[in-house]
Symmetry: C2
Subunit: 135 residues, 2 copies
Amino acid sequence: MSATVLRKRRSTCPLNVALEVFGDRWSLLIVRDLLFKRRHTYRDFAGAEERIATNVLADRLARLEAEGILFKKHDPADARRVLYRLTPKGRDLAPVLVEMILWSARYERTAATPAQIREMTEHKARFIAAAKASS
Amino acid sequence: MSATVLRKRRSTCPLNVALEVFGDRWSLLIVRDLLFKRRHTYRDFAGAEERIATNVLADRLARLEAEGILFKKHDPADARRVLYRLTPKGRDLAPVLVEMILWSARYERTAATPAQIREMTEHKARFIAAAKASS
DNA sequence: CCGGATCCGTTTCGATACTG
DNA sequence: CAGTATCGAAACGGATCCGG
């Protein structure tokens, strides 16, 4: 499966380009883990509640790396351990994620608390900056 | 295929809920057509440059209708014709689309013009309001 | 152990042909 | 025109295996 690394672009419509990069069930969940949940290892992603299959996870990590959204790095504290980190391009997906989260919280039953939503709504720019800085 | 209409929620994480609703290659392109391109019929969607297959299109329309994002309506001017329209819930996806478009325009080669991007960036709220109003 | 790769049965996709 | 039917290809998922 991990042969599916770099899909070729078939359209230059901006929305379609974005969907060709991360328009699937899993890619943005990995970005979320990196941006908001301080998860940085393969095990962290695999252990997330959505239970992505390991082969799909490996495929998405390779794809996101090929797209320049994240990169691999050895843990300076333990060279055996591999850490995944967002590039600036990956961090700039934060506004997309925030809008998706706000939409869900408004229209679907979710686990987001009103306080979290209020913070994200009223101080959106600050929230995004903080997520980028801490990721 | 159109048996796959309502997927059951497997998580209450807000981002994951959003991805369960429209986390695929096609759903948001239909919303884009309705919001920004004044396309409202099956033929309009099928004729878009991305060339969605008709069976997938029928499935996504049914799914988005089941999710309360759009609804069908007979054209008042020609009762034989079926029009698709966004609900308020569907129109509120506009900020998600805008952020995705801005991200693509920034990091990928797209057909968006600098003037369009500047308008969407500098007058984001106005742009979104206009799209909602005209959809 | 950790970070995957491989297998394999099932589901979904995508292209095209077809139909009420 | 607005979808269905069909069918091969691709993706998914779960389990297991493997190299460092």
